[in-house]
């Protein structure tokens, strides 16, 4: 990766210091256990504007107390032109401290992304528009290209899901199967194709973007869905009450932190003002010792954030 220009570095230093202040004000509710898998989720990020920069600062700030190993990008990674300068402005500069700390980014393609982003190494797509990776035993992530869900990709997904056995299965892609966003909403055509596979192979969690809001969807057929499309763009007041929302936030920007520990995935959603928007625990699907009153995909919310 190229090194940003010196004046950019000065700006970054100021940003990093500011992020430290923000981080100090941030209460993390996550357990932060040793050996757990820690990651972040951002969506619809590639604007290169001050909103992206502000979210990036808070994201970096949280890394001090919550050293996530990687960040998932749920698409629209580079808005507008994607000339070389755009990669710098819309990705490398905003996330420089995070990249420098060795955090990997895993991208999915959005409708504003060139298919050739798959070759950009810092996106870790391994040259593929859809791919899977296993950051540690017992969990597998599936990055899909929801812009072009052709039979080849569906066949690949089924094969991969089938082979992943009892692992945690976490899918991430751009278009939400469920969303209360007025601008886009649920992509039912895509849902018809993907949901049967997700159910058949007990996918636990689905992370998407596209609607520029945060939304946690009430568990649908045992699967927990999130929309995290507000990490640089925002459509204020876009969430409609259509009975899907477990928790919504359409008044500001944000991102998600997640910690996977055994059969639980703790999550915390944080705004660009370093406020906790949502937090809770997703229970693993089909877990062998699940209590009878805890159906798969259940999300439990702690009563009080733990400091």
């Amino acid at each position: 990766m190229r090194t940003p220009k010196p004046n950019t570095l000065t700006a970054l230093l100021v940003s990093v210091l500011a992020a430290g202040i923000i981080a100090a004000a941030q209460d993390l509710t996550l357990p932060r256990k040793q050996g757990s898998l820690k990651f972040a989720v951002i969506g619809d990020t590639g604007t290169g504007d001050s909103n992206q920069a502000r979210v990036a600062k808070v994201l970096w700030g949280t890394h001090q107390n919550f050293p996530y190993e990687f960040a998932l990008m749920v698409g629209d990674n580079i808005y507008g032109a994607d000339n070389p300068r755009d990669y710098e402005k819309k990705f490398e500069i905003p996330y420089k401290p995070i990249l420098d700390a060795g955090v990997k980014f895993y991208a999915a393609l959005g409708n504003h992304d060139s298919p050739n982003q798959r070759l950009y190494k810092p996106f870790n797509m391994n040259g593929q528009r859809f791919y899977s990776f296993k950051p540690k035993n017992g969990v597998r992530f599936f990055a899909l290209d929801s812009n072009y869900m052709d039979p080849e990709q569906l066949q690949w997904l089924e094969k991969e899901l089938k082979a992943s056995g009892s692992d945690w299965k976490i899918a991430f892609f751009h278009h939400p199967l469920y969303s209360s966003g007025e601008r886009h909403g649920s992509d039912t055509a895509l849902k018809d194709q993907l949901e049967p596979l997700f159910q058949k192979y007990s996918v636990d969690l689905v992370l998407t973007g596209h609607d520029h809001v945060y939304e946690r969807i009430k568990a649908q057929r045992g699967i927990t869905y999130f929309v995290i499309g507000n990490s640089a763009k925002l459509r204020k007041g876009d969430l409609e009450d259509i009975g899907l929302t477990a928790k919504g936030f359409d008044a500001g920007y944000g991102f998600m932190l997640a910690e996977l520990d055994g059969d639980q995935m703790h999550f915390q959603v944080i705004s660009d003002q370093a406020k906790t928007i949502d937090a809770g625990v997703v229970l693993r699907n089909r877990q062998p010792n699940a209590p009878a009153d805890a159906p798969p995909g259940t999300v439990t919310i702690p009563k009080k954030p733990q400091k």
Partner: protein
């Protein structure tokens, strides 16, 4: 009407007319769908073979930390294609026969409840037609989104090689080469 032998003239005339129609040029022009689709696939495969040859002459499009290399590889390849396909015209791949069959296949995905969903997907974030140059070997504008193609449509259309995709611009269908970010053919009014 009846002849002296008791034959009905109307069915006989109908048979004669049908026989004449079957052997007429108009009827022969209607190739069976399977044949049309096979021809289409052959044309796309020919493009893919050309792509493989031309990309040997261009900088490789490979995994890199430097987006400059991606941009250079795309542009150099696109230039090779423009030279090699200098005489390509609209409809060379989307021939009139292909257009007829494709329109019917696509139309079949626009009916009923699923059709409503598919129409909704096509309207989502579609680039304005005025922003896209309908030009063979033309560059797809980098600042415009690529339309999302409903999975139902991808199921009914012939499968394409890895570097070629179908993309819509409003009602118009593009054949898009991801390797060079190029429009290699287009079909106007592919859907109603």
């Amino acid at each position: 009407m009846q002849t002296s032998r008791g034959w009905s003239v109307v069915p006989v005339l109908a048979l004669i007319l049908a026989a004449m129609w079957v052997t007429s040029p108009a009827a022969q022009a209607q190739k069976p769908d399977a044949k049309v689709l096979t021809e289409f696939k052959a044309k796309v495969e020919a493009y893919d073979t050309l792509r493989k040859d031309l990309q040997k002459k261009a900088p490789p499009l490979k995994k890199t930390d430097d987006p400059v290399e991606i941009a250079q590889a795309e542009k150099a390849f696109a230039q090779q294609v423009r030279v090699a396909r200098a005489n390509a015209k609209p409809g060379d791949i989307f021939t009139p026969d292909t257009q007829r069959v494709f329109k019917r296949l696509l139309n079949s995905t626009l009916k009923g409840d699923e059709g409503v969903e598919n129409k909704h997907v096509l309207k989502e974030d579609r680039p304005p037609a005025s922003k896209i140059p309908f030009e063979i070997n033309g560059e797809y504008p980098k600042d415009q989104p690529l339309s999302t193609v409903p999975p139902d449509m991808l199921k009914v259309l012939p499968m394409l090689p890895e570097n070629v995709q179908y993309r819509f611009v409003g009602k118009h269908l593009l054949l898009y080469c991801t390797r060079g970010n190029l429009i290699i053919d287009y079909m106007l009014n592919a859907i109603p």
